[in-house]
Subunit: 250 residues, 2 copies
């Protein structure tokens, strides 16, 4: 880590759009993927919202998130069918027009030179005015980027291709490093020493994550920091606390 | 389906709490599970929010959701460690006090008669005033229910046990039935007939979900309705449209 890296944090909100997520039919894997991707480049995801295919709810959520965070990433609702209303909702949130975009049509023709660009398929070329396109290698139909909002597809393969495409446009933060310590005990046993360590290491985030292996509770302790020396010190303190609580039980 | 079932819709919001979800370290499976569980009893999930372990953000989200929806279900942040602040945040949202609850202590003692109830473990017995407990068979430490908000653990096995426990307390809606039709074609090919079918069947929700099998785009069409006769009519119309588009290509 270099000192020249900006100290200012770069933040993000994620907006997942689609009735199918809320009905439980489709399990959202996109938001977890985006969180992991952004964490690795030092962008801190602060909030995720999932809303149905309802224009007013999309507009409200995108407005709330784009005011609060450096970036907003949306997934879902940019396909060719009647329930794909994300592009129109985003145009409405930004107060701009929306129409078939010749750049998008060209991308789609290039990918499928022999395909019939039906009016349904052309729906995927509807892009809000002033937006930049986000190409994708899988389907041809682009996402778009307007203001601080990146609008991506819901199909995971396509979303991932779009995220790779926009990676280089993002201002990244100072990377957050993390270390995980396994504690072979329930959280309650390690909680008090952990609280003291957290207090003594204010620049390190210390999270405690219980899991149940079917018979016993185990705990993973995750220490996170932008500063590697402080991270190492906190990690040592946690390891010492775990060791102290483990040995006598043997 | 009986006509005596209430026509009034029962709605829900879900609040997922935890830094580990936003950092991408832990993939949230709880919200998808809850969506599926509630859909099956006719409760319509309208929104999901995920926020970090930050009191002000928990309070803001729970307040927004509890005003809008019949029920709010939260997961995460009720363990024994320093980063478990959900119970305090909920008390703060409701403007009530919070203290160690003797009913919760009794449940924990009953489950672990020989365990040392350290001050960390007793943290899990902190319950906002006026709340009812939600028992769980796995860990003993309860969740709680205050106003229209149900506060549950983040560990999936425990959360699921709590959801089973509260199921009988919920007012359920008219169940929504659904049917899925597989269309062996990209969305763009079926989009126009689907839009017409959606218009002709206003009491049926018609969703179109593309997926990519590695070489081809396929589409699943899901029809959903509280009324089985209307559902059957829409399903037939979709099947006919798919058949018409499939046969000539053979």
């Amino acid at each position: 880590m270099t000192d020249s890296a900006s100290d200012q944090s770069v933040t993000a909100g994620i907006l997942v759009i689609g009735d199918e997520i809320l009905s439980g039919r489709t399990k959202d894997s996109n938001s977890g993927y985006i969180c992991e991707y952004l964490s690795e480049v030092g962008i801190e995801v602060r909030e995720i919202r999932t809303v149905p295919d309802v224009s007013a709810m999309i507009v409200e959520a995108v407005d709330a998130l784009r005011e609060r965070y450096t970036y907003v990433f949306t997934t879902g609702g940019i396909g060719p069918t009647h329930d794909d209303i994300t592009a129109d909702a985003i145009a409405s949130a930004f107060g701009v027009g929306i129409d078939i975009d010749e750049r998008a049509v060209a991308l789609m023709r290039h990918r499928y030179p022999n395909a019939d660009l039906t009016s349904a398929r052309l729906r995927m070329a509807r892009i809000p005015q002033g937006a930049d396109l986000i190409e994708n290698a899988v389907s041809g139909a682009p996402g778009f980027h307007i203001g601080n909002v990146f609008v991506m597809a819901g199909v995971p393969r396509i979303m991932q291709s779009m995220l790779d495409e926009i990676g280089s446009r993002l201002k990244t933060g100072r990377r957050i490093f993390s270390e995980t310590i396994n504690a072979p005990m329930p959280e309650g046993k390690i909680a008090e020493p952990l609280a003291k360590i957290a207090e003594a290491h204010p620049d390190v985030q210390i999270g405690s994550y219980p899991h149940f292996d079917g018979t016993r509770f185990l705990t993973q302790i995750v220490v996170r920091s932008r500063e590697t020396d402080k991270l190492a010190a906190a990690k040592s303190a946690v390891e010492a606390a775990v060791a102290e609580l483990t040995v006598p039980d043997k």
